[in-house]
Amino acid sequence: MEIVVCIKQVPDTEAPIRIRPDGSGIDETGVNLVMNYYDEHATEAALQLRERFGGTVTLVSVGPERAREALRQGLAMGADEAVLVSDPRLSAADHLQVARVLAAVIAPRRPDLVICGKLSTDDNAAIVGPALAALLDLPQATAVSRLEVAEDATHALVHRELEGAVEVLELPLPALLTVERNLNEPRYPSLPGIMKAKRKEIPVLTLEAAGVDPETLGAPGAVLERLAPPPARPPGQRVDGQDPDAAVEAIVRYLAETAKVL
């Protein structure tokens, strides 16, 4: 089974996020960059399928040069190969453009399965996976929390987590899945795995080398103008609790008249 996993390197969710003074992006000084957690689960799903069906797991990322580290982590977990598309012309790329680049790299490989994280924890957009499925003309299931691939690998049964419900879908392979974090428990990269990954070449491709005609990327649909931190929250109001009855009355009045939630 040929499986492609899409990987993104993102700031650690525990890292303090500071925005550059000119608003052009995140100040990465001292920020730990990691593989998007959802992508760890996508990689784990791919490795489990390879253990069962054989084949190869290929990781693909679009991002700056440093994104190689996230790919290296995936290789250390056990993926067979990794490809990075890194091109200065992609620095302002939006999600659709990234999906186009991924599609150009992935399509010639004719994978049986493409697996992405449900979203990436930096911008929480959840666009690239579905867009990529459309560009590759593959059936898709998003937010997959359970995955059962049939013995003959012709179709898969998936559970999708919806709000308050689980949707069960059957879809033919090849297909694209985006996965939830409760799908599996990602393995740690083993130390021998780290050493093997160290010896693997990770080709870094320009747009042309990746088979993308820059002309076809189009203008970004959404252009990043400026990042700004959320406005500071106004301080809360304190109710003096000396007289409990008066305090309750004051809170109820606030909820009914000011907050208008009662």
């Binding site: 990691v34 190689r68 580290e69 290296r72 982590q73 250390a76 740690y188 990269p189 083993s190 130390l191 021998p192 795995g193 780290i194 050493m195 990954a197 160290k198």
Partner: protein, 381 residues
């Protein structure tokens, strides 16, 4: 000079840090309280490749370098010094000498099982009358009918209870001092070896410390490690690597104390503000951070020299001395910084304080490290 860690060293650090945070730290307090050997964690560590980090891949190891080793030991010790020492002994004191001095046959027989968790190693050097003066050991090994027969008593053997492969030092030649000593690979399954008293300790309680009794213990001839009479050299060479690992352990313990103090200084309020706003606390944190930095850099330097195949005896002792004194100092400071909360079991700093004490004792006391360093400074032997 290059201070950046390589991509694989950073990946290793992140991996071991996460493993320690998720699998070891949540259990560390209970393991300590119950003096319980973390069998499952050691099996997980073996699957990751942590039990034989520097053993080449053909023998089942991870094939990493000494710098990788100390990076991993710091991360493990930050979560639990007891768990770390179990792993560190297997690596430094058992795999190392077999790899450096063993025959091809010995390497093939013992290293894969020490790497994959089927076996655990221990190191039997210390005796009741031979502690700092290790070369005064009196355990005897005599040749009888094509095998070695060992008699004696070994003390304070880390992993002594659970280990099944023991590196044992015994006197084979009728001369005093290092030259009369030989090293042996002794399996617990051999006749005549048994576990004596298992100690109750101040710290590193989830690792066992036991007495090993040798009573006409019969060891096949091919289990002599290295040359006859080479044991003293093997012991000292092994300790250079071991001390680097203990230095990393001490750095890890000290860092655990610092991280606990930083979190506490931010949230604990006295006199109407977080205590981190008081200069007395700020300076304590600055001193801790400074000494930990220095200890870590010295530890990295010792590992770096080793990776380049250069002598590093003095540098290993320097790293161990500074790191151990940093750990005992920083953890004591942490207890005071936490005040009453530092003295009770609900917070981890009292465990860090207890664990730190051993770093100034085993694999050479701080006094012995000063002896090693001063000999090299003075150019004496």
């Amino acid at each position: 000079m290059e201070f950046d860690l390589s991509e694989e060293h950073r990946l290793l650090q992140a991996t071991v840090r996460e493993f320690a945070a998720r699998e070891i730290e949540p259990q560390a307090a209970a393991l300590d309280r119950e003096h319980r050997y973390p069998a499952e964690i050691i099996q997980q560590a073996a699957r990751l490749g942590l039990m034989a980090m520097m053993v080449p891949e053909p023998y089942g190891g991870a094939g990493m370098d000494a710098l990788a080793y100390v990076i991993a030991q710091e991360e493990l010790a930050r979560a639990s010094a007891g768990v770390q020492v179990i792993i560190s002994v297997n690596n430094s004191l058992v795999c190392d000498p077999i790899l450096a001095f063993g025959t091809e046959e010995q390497k093939r027989r013992y290293l894969p099982r020490l790497a994959d968790g089927r076996s655990l190693g221990c190191y039997c050097l210390t005796e009741p009358e031979a502690g700092s003066d290790a070369m005064a050991l009196t355990t005897r090994a005599e040749r009888r009918g094509g095998e070695w027969v060992l008699n004696g008593r070994k003390l304070f053997v880390t992993n002594g209870l659970e280990a099944d492969i023991c590196i044992v030092y015994a006197r084979t030649e009728p001369v005093p001092g290092a030259r009369g000593i030989s090293a042996f690979i002794v399996e617990k399954a051999f006749p005549g070896i048994s576990v004596g008293k298992v100690e109750r300790k101040l710290g590193i309680r989830c690792s066992s410390t036991a007495e090993i009794l040798l009573d006409d213990c019969r060891v096949p001839e091919e289990n002599l490690l290295g040359e006859r009479g080479q044991g003293g050299r093997i012991a000292l060479a092994t300790l250079d690597g071991g001390r680097t690992g203990i230095a990393a352990q001490a750095v890890g313990i000290a860092r655990a104390a610092l991280e606990a103090c930083v979190a506490y200084a931010r949230e604990r309020r006295q006199f109407g503000r977080p205590i981190g706003e008081f200069q007395a606390i700020q300076w304590a944190l600055a001193d801790m951070a400074t000494r930990i930095d220095a200890a870590r850099l010295l530890t990295y330097r010792a590992a770096w020299l080793r990776d380049r195949g250069q002598p590093y005896t003095r540098e290993a002792s320097t790293a161990k001395l500074v790191a151990a004194e940093t750990a005992t100092w920083a953890t004591a400071r942490a207890v005071r910084l936490f005040g009453g909360y530092g003295y009770i079991e609900d917070y981890p700093v009292e465990r860090y304080f207890r664990d730190a004490q051993i770093t100034e004792i085993y694999e050479g006391t701080s006094e012995i490290q000063r002896l090693v360093i001063s000999r090299q400074v003075l150019g004496s032997k």
